[in-house]
Amino acid sequence: MTAISPTDQAAARATSIVAAEAQARARLRKRHALVIGLRLAILVVFLGLWELCADYNIIDPFFFSSPSGIWEQIWSWITEGTSQGPLWLQIYVTLEETFLGFVIGAVGGIVAGIILGRNKLLADVFSIYIKIANSVPRVVLGSVFIIALGLGMASKVALAVVMVFFVVFANAFQGVREADRAMIANAQILGASPMQITTSVIIPSAMSWILASLHVSFGFALVGAVVGEFLGAKQGMGLLISTAQGAFNANGVFAAMIILAVMALVVEFIITRFENYVVKWRPAPFNEQGA
């Protein structure tokens, strides 16, 4: 018998492969469109139901507002400004506080998590105090911060920090402890100093832990800043909500919350971008790979 070594059909094949790959890409695009479509559908159904319930007084728009009322409110804020000044200024103020608080809290949480995760003695001694600190009601802490730091930006930032810190800390800490011991050993043997182990093994392997906590904690930072503004402020979305609440203006309350949600989504989008960049080394689940 003759061994038929694979003949050079490559040229003929090439077209079929290209076609198959184009098909795969088309599938991806279609799926993306489906996702967007479904998201929108849910949004529309939700808003529609809300509006209908409000119109037919199944839920009382005095308490729960209605999409059209919210939209009117947002529009009037955009065109006429709020009682505290232009809308963008409120957004800017809150965003600034949130962002500062988020960065400080996240960096603090990551650093503390790594230090305690790497040092068992420190962890044993201090983690109990971190647990204690985490059980302090943030609203009470809010007034303590206002007393200690004044009514300015500092107290809101501090409140955002304490919202963010614990979540990030808990994950960074656990992420560090989960780092593969063989990998750490390998790095050590390859000559890594403790610092290098931290930067080249611990942080990359804790990265998905840290990122998971960042996703949830930006929302928390926002909540912290808003609560801070709630307790006393000159500017900001929290004050907007508090004023609207005081005036029984449900539209205002919900409009402000929607603006906050949009802010959170924008930042979420950025974090996701960052995440995709950082973890591009990650294997795709089986069946999602190949062309």
Binding site: S16, G290, A291
Partner: protein, 284 residues
């Protein structure tokens, strides 16, 4: 290259018949590489394993052997071409298959016995029966004293044996094994080979067995596939006509065996050298 020996008959890879246990038909699979290009892992790959047949696959490292097995399990999808198992196209990960992974895939949170009993339990076997069976298989792979150990408390070879027991206990009709014995010492390996042949002949399973040990391949197989250096495709297929049952401890000294091994070895070496000249630069 044409040859024909009494024992190793070189076959031409033909389009697979419909009733084959495993039929890989003219498959190409491409991966996206880190720089965004496409890399062909296997191309124009055709392979057939008849029911009850024992096929071994040898080839230089990185030529696509594991990829081929993954195609059969449904873990990977071909870019073009198609894969059939027992006549049906592979659409999802199949439960009729036993697969010994190249790397460790034991469940670290389960002790050895829980790992081995996993298959029967998943398939609805009553608990007691599953554990009895598991205990039996753990004995066969020589881990009785380590029943309660967790995978991280085992040595590399012990983990591999646990994985073998985990797969064998399901008595799969189709058995895929990716270098299952490479972490074992010669003696244990021989025992495991005997165990495998016993299971195979008892169940009339179809087996695809990937190995780097050509002698092992010849000793076990009905058919040996030699792959080319990556992008892998089938270079040649040999039918091994050594009589069965074969006893692993003795077969290596059979002159027919030695002859066959030599023939395939020269074929394979050619390929490996090609792969090396393409990939390996000489070091010093």
């Amino acid at each position: 290259m044409q040859l024909q020996t009494m024992a190793a008959e070189k076959l031409s890879p033909a389009a697979p018949p419909a009733d084959a246990a495993i039929a890989i038909d003219d498959v190409t699979l491409r991966f996206v590489t880190p720089d965004g290009h496409m890399m062909t892992a296997i191309r124009d790959f055709t392979m057939t394993v008849a029911r009850g047949e024992f096929a071994c696959v040898v080839g230089p490292t990185g030529c696509g052997k594991s990829t081929t097995l993954n195609l059969v399990t449904g873990l990977l999808r071909p870019t073009t071409g198609n894969v059939r198992v027992m006549g049906n196209p592979v659409t999802d990960i199949s439960r009729d298959i036993g697969f010994v992974f190249q790397a460790d895939a034991l469940f670290p949170w389960r002790s050895v016995i829980d790992n081995v009993a996993a298959g029967p339990l998943f398939r609805g076997t009553p608990k007691k029966e599953a554990y009895d069976k598991a205990r039996d298989w753990i004995g066969r792979v020589g881990l009785s004293r380590f029943e309660k150990h967790y995978p991280h408390q085992l040595s590399g070879g012990m983990r591999k044996r646990a994985a073998l027991a985990q797969t064998f206990i399901n008595q799969p009709k189709i058995l895929l094994m990716d270098e299952p014995f490479s972490a074992l010492d010669m003696q244990t390996r021989t025992a495991m080979q005997d165990e495998l042949l016993g299971l195979w002949s008892g169940l009339k399973s179809s087996v695809v067995f990937v190995t780097h040990d050509l002698e092992e391949a010849v000793a076990l197989a009905d058919k040996v596939y030699v792959l080319t250096a990556g992008p892998g495709t089938v270079k040649s297929v040999y039918r091994i006509d050594l009589p069965r049952p074969r006893v692993m401890a003795d077969i290596r000294y059979d002159p027919k065996f030695i002859e066959i091994a030599k023939v395939i070895w020269s074929d394979l070496r050619e390929e490996v050298q090609l792969g090396q000249s393409r990939g390996l630069q000489t070091g010093h």
